[in-house]
């Protein structure tokens, strides 16, 4: 990791740690505010093979993340309204700048259900040339719904995402670009909430939009593809400190061509689709 990384990381950690207490001071009371700081570290158990030309497995390793999630209660919906803010950053050996993600929105939450509608965006930052196909940013609509009562709490997330173009290479004075049509994500899941133990099972269904790769005299078209990402997680809650372990796997429908899949899929950080199977450790500190 070079000097730029270290400086960026320090600034980021300072900002995130500062935001926790600052956010708390704006809340009128503990009941009106809910938030936590989190950090993750992932280990790829298995990578896709073969990989795109010049790409190594380590290039596609899920980044380590740090972030926070905050929910403020507002006066709307008879006092059940809330404002939601999620922010995270990801750092890996091969990202020249950290990746950033932000979700902001509003909704309501009572003792039975919660619904948040917001706008979400993420930037994969500036990456090494070998993984330039991941160097994009995306933004879109995010809808989260969850049941908040009982031990087993179903939930689902829905996202509609627009993805920016990226330059893959430049030769003979012509640029080769990659462009994506919108992607849809649906994540139904269920949470287990016990006094000490936590559990979660999710099935991420990603409909990756058609992708075009082209330069002035070349074109390659990849049609829409669905990808399944099941994840199971177990956690323990120790008075505001949570420790989680998550196991996830990625199954593209067209599994015979992982190279084409990796070019079509820009999801690197929060919704990592670049590692075939991974294990993630997560630590949460509730403010």
């Amino acid at each position: 990791m070079n000097q730029v990384h270290f400086i960026s990381l320090k600034i980021l950690i300072f900002f995130i740690i500062l935001c926790g207490p600052v956010a708390t001071t704006f809340a009128s009371g503990k009941d009106d505010f809910d938030g936590f700081f989190y950090t993750t570290y992932s280990y790829a158990l298995e990578h896709f093979s073969p990989l795109p030309e010049d790409v190594q497995e380590s290039h596609l390793h899920p980044p380590s993340e740090i972030g926070f999630q905050i929910r403020f209660k507002t006066g709307a919906f008879g006092g059940a309204g809330l404002t939601a803010l999620d922010f995270h950053a990801g750092v890996s050996r091969f990202s020249w700048n950290p990746t950033y993600g932000l979700m902001a929105g509003g909704g309501f939450k009572n003792d039975r259900v919660s619904l948040i509608v917001g706008v979400e965006g993420e930037s994969n930052g500036r990456l090494e040339p070998q993984v330039s196909f991941l160097a994009c940013w995306w933004w879109g609509l995010n809808v989260k719904f969850a049941l908040e009562r009982s031990l087993l709490r179903p939930f689902f997330d829905f996202k509609w995402l627009l993805i920016s173009n990226s330059e893959l290479a430049s030769a003979e004075g012509f640029s080769t670009e990659i462009a994506h049509d919108p992607t849809f994500v649906l994540k139904p899941g269920i949470r287990l909430v016990l006094p000490l133990l936590r559990g979660e099972a999710t099935l991420g269904i990603y409909s990756l939009g058609p992708t075009a790769i082209g330069s002035k005299e070349f074109g390659y078209f990849i049609s829409r593809q669905n990808v399944l990402r099941p994840e199971i997680a177990a956690g323990i809650d120790l008075m505001g400190f949570e420790f989680w372990i998550r196991a996830a796997a990625v199954y593209p429908i067209r599994s015979e061509d992982p190279v084409e899949f990796l070019y079509q899929n820009p999801f690197f950080t929060h919704d990592n689709l670049t590692a075939k199977r991974s294990l993630t450790g997560e630590f949460r500190w509730h403010f």
Partner: protein, 274 residues
């Protein structure tokens, strides 16, 4: 020169009789592939061709299709496929400026692909090279084994060294001074006559003999633009009364047989874009 051409044009329109116009179109994309070297060669100012018992080098070259400012990826997503125009025909129609912008194959009297030699160890290249027609799209960083790198299953050449149409008749090849001339008049006429259903993936130039000493040709990156590979086409400026299509659409992509729209829809779309 532009003023002179305008005068010729006016003479045509006022019915002074047929005139011959020569149009030079520079090749913009070329590279060479080597059986012993997989690195990219598109940015070099030369193209290598050679053949021996242990290694071989071949040239890949493509006639220009879309204009420089085309949004290729945007068009591909819109059309769920890949469509390009054959630029020389646009030039033809602009030059002739016939009332209905009519161009037929009969307008073309000669069309040659001309490439200049940079240096060679051969005493004479006559009869030692052949031009083949490629049957697969290729990226600028193509190699001996791969046409492109964006797919694990569809990026490799079916035959290492390039996939060519074995039924295509090799055009006449002549050497004039330090220039190599491939007469592709019939091919250009055929593209025009295919009227929107033609495909152009490019050409492959290789040795037609068992052993060819190393030869370097000037590439599309060569410093002197007038000596870069070029298509020189001679047209007769005569207008025809019956309407005809003057642009052809060439499909690029992983599946050369896939057509997302019927030919009549293609023609409508072409006319809209004009």
């Amino acid at each position: 020169m532009a003023f002179l051409r305008t005068l010729i044009l006016m003479a045509l329109i006022t019915g002074c009789g047929p005139q011959t116009i020569s149009q030079t179109q520079l090749v913009e994309t070329d590279t060479y592939i080597s059986s012993s070297d997989s690195s990219a060669h598109a940015d070099l100012n030369y193209l290598k061709i050679s053949k021996s018992a242990s290694s071989e080098e071949r040239i890949l070259m493509k006639l220009p299709t879309v204009s420089t400012d085309s949004d290729v990826v945007g068009e591909m997503l819109k059309e769920s496929g890949v469509w390009v125009f054959f630029m020389p025909l646009i030039v033809i129609s602009e030059l002739l400026e016939c009332h209905n912008q009519i161009v037929r194959a009969e307008n073309i009297s000669k069309s040659e692909l001309v490439i200049d030699v940079l240096d060679t160890l051969e005493a004479d290249l006559t009869g030692k090279l052949q031009l083949d027609l490629l049957t697969r799209p290729w990226w600028q960083r193509a190699s001996w084994n791969r046409a492109h790198y964006f797919s694990a299953t569809k990026g490799a050449w079916a035959t290492p060294g390039g996939d060519v149409d074995v039924t295509w008749l090799h055009p006449t090849f002549t050497v004039s001074g330090s220039s190599l001339h491939f007469d592709i008049t019939n091919y250009i006429k055929e593209l025009i006559n295919l009227d929107g259903k033609g495909i152009h993936y490019g050409f492959l130039i290789q040795s037609s003999i068992a052993t060819l000493a190393s030869t370097r040709l000037k590439s599309s990156q060569y410093e002197n633009t007038s000596t870069r590979p070029r298509l020189i086409t001679n047209f007769t400026g005569t207008c025809y009364g019956a309407p005809a299509t003057f642009r052809s659409t060439f499909i690029l992509g992983s599946d050369p047989t896939r057509v997302s729209q019927p030919p009549e829809k293609i023609q409508e779309k072409i006319q809209e874009k004009i």
